[in-house]
């Protein structure tokens, strides 16, 4: 019977975002393009999942709108934007040009992280090959965790440090859009909303890029359909290399979940909601049973504390206090700190760190007990989750 199954032409994995397409963009009116993007149901792929058409429509009402292409990806455990920019930069530029047309912008600024030279080279080469009739700039941004937050990015591009502000750029005529979102805009402009909706689910349509690391055979980036089960997603990365204990879903602002609570769920926000998790920018880290979730989480929490922009008291003092409590295995203190830290900063940093810490304390409760008794399940396992190293804000 397996032959019959294999013969089914499902083509679930055909590349779209990562497949270069040299055909020219069809010329369509602003109104048509916006209607098509709206009908596609596309949402922001940078993590917030905000409806793209609504953001475009808001910026289109501004006096002199500009477009900022956000390829900063300051999260050390996410590589999907870098891979997209290196592998298929023209599709990102297509999307940026379409977005500029829709909002009526004549100026597009591409922003990428400073650390990865090859990403910049690929993008520069692609830009040099085009003439889209828009003014194009390319800026490199410090590789800090919060530098890609849209108000932080705008602050940096305006000559300040890459630190968040209380501004909402889209209310000020600045469209800051993630590179993968724009690549999807490019696909919708080329193939239409109905085509886009052939993949994914009715409520969460399309394909997305995921970064998978940890206990899989070939960690990296792949394009998958929304609604694919987590188990199938991990198969795309060569499958598991060890018995899985927990998955970190959504990167360092994300949530630890027990592997067997999530492996058979579809990759959608609606499926994750009962677990208190969200896809975010779709980083999935697979923690094997022989690694230590407490040690991994303590390292990340300390890193997040050091990545505070140093502006808001509850973040400056609160995340280090959470990291201290976590290192001391003081779960009660961690629980008491949560409402003093979450939702109390200018950006989502303290909220994200609180979510991460709370989920770690929950999922690794047994391992915390083991540590209290002087043990550790992963003493022999090297650290799995990568941390950033940049110290620059400008």
């Amino acid at each position: 019977m397996s032959a019959a199954v294999a013969a089914e032409p499902r083509e679930r994995t055909a590349a779209r975002l990562l497949a270069p397409d040299p055909s020219p963009l069809p010329r369509r009116s602003r109104r048509e393009l916006l209607a098509e993007i709206e009908a596609s149901g596309l949402t922001g792929r940078g993590g917030a999942a905000f409806p793209t058409a609504r953001k475009l429509a808001t910026v289109a009402r501004a006096h002199r709108p500009v477009v900022v292409v956000n390829g900063v990806e300051g999260e050390p455990a996410s590589w999907k934007d870098k891979v997209l920019l290196a592998q298929n930069p023209h599709l990102v530029v297509d999307g940026a040009v379409v977005a500029a047309r829709v909002v009526g912008a004549h100026e597009v600024t591409f922003a990428v992280g400073r650390g990865n030279r090859s990403v910049r080279t690929h993008l520069e080469r692609a830009l040099a090959e085009r003439s889209d009739g828009v003014e194009v700039h390319l800026e490199t941004v410090p590789d800090r965790f919060v530098a890609g937050e849209e108000s932080a990015l705008l602050n940096f591009l305006n000559g300040g440090p890459a630190k968040p502000t209380l501004e909402k750029p889209y209310e000020r005529g600045v469209l800051v859009q993630n590179v993968e979102t724009l690549a999807s805009v490019g696909l919708v402009a080329r193939h239409g909303a109905a085509w886009f909706r052939q993949r994914g689910t009715a409520d969460e349509p399309g394909t997305v890029l995921v970064t998978v690391l940890g206990a899989v055979r070939t960690p990296g980036v792949a394009e998958v359909e929304l609604g694919t089960t987590f188990r199938e997603v991990l198969q795309r990365f060569g499958g598991l290399t060890a018995f899985p204990h927990a998955l970190l879903v959504g990167g360092y602002f994300g949530t630890w979940v027990r592997a067997h609570d999530v492996l058979d769920l579809p990759l959608t926000n609606v499926a994750l909601r009962p677990l208190g998790a969200r896809l975010g920018a779709r980083t999935i880290a697979v923690l094997p049973l022989d690694a230590c979730g407490v040690a991994e989480s303590a390292r990340v929490l300390r890193y997040l504390a050091n990545e505070s922009a140093g502006q808001c008291g509850p973040c400056v003092f609160g995340i280090p206090a959470m990291a201290d409590a976590f290192e001391r295995l003081d779960v009660d203190r961690l629980r008491r700190l949560a409402p003093l830290v979450a939702e109390r900063g200018a950006c989502a940093h303290p909220t994200g760190a609180t979510r991460f810490a709370a989920s770690a304390a929950g999922v690794f409760a047994d391992e915390i007990e083991r540590h209290r008794a002087g043990g550790c399940s992963g003493a022999a396992h090297p650290p799995m989750l990568p941390l950033g190293a940049s110290r620059d804000w400008r």
């Binding site: 808001c312 008291g313 609160g318």
Partner: protein
């Protein structure tokens, strides 16, 4: 009306908690914890005073929109 704080401006002077103790608590680092609910009318005069006296001008009042 609601009282709000700009967390970037706030440096934790704590004046607001002295001028509006009915509504403002300070966390363990001295930063204000503000009620999510609208303030009752009786607290509005002291809330306005707290906003005006904040050394960092970090507080604001949000009038109820209809």
């Amino acid at each position: 009306m609601k009282i709000r704080v700009n967390p970037i401006l706030c440096d934790g002077y704590g004046q607001c908690a002295e001028l509006l103790p009915e509504a403002v608590r300070l966390d363990e680092w001295g930063y204000p914890l503000l009620p999510a609910e609208p303030l009752p009318r009786t607290l509005e005069p002291s809330a306005r005073r707290a906003v005006a006296m904040c050394p960092r001008l970090a507080l604001s009042l949000e009038e109820k929109r209809r």
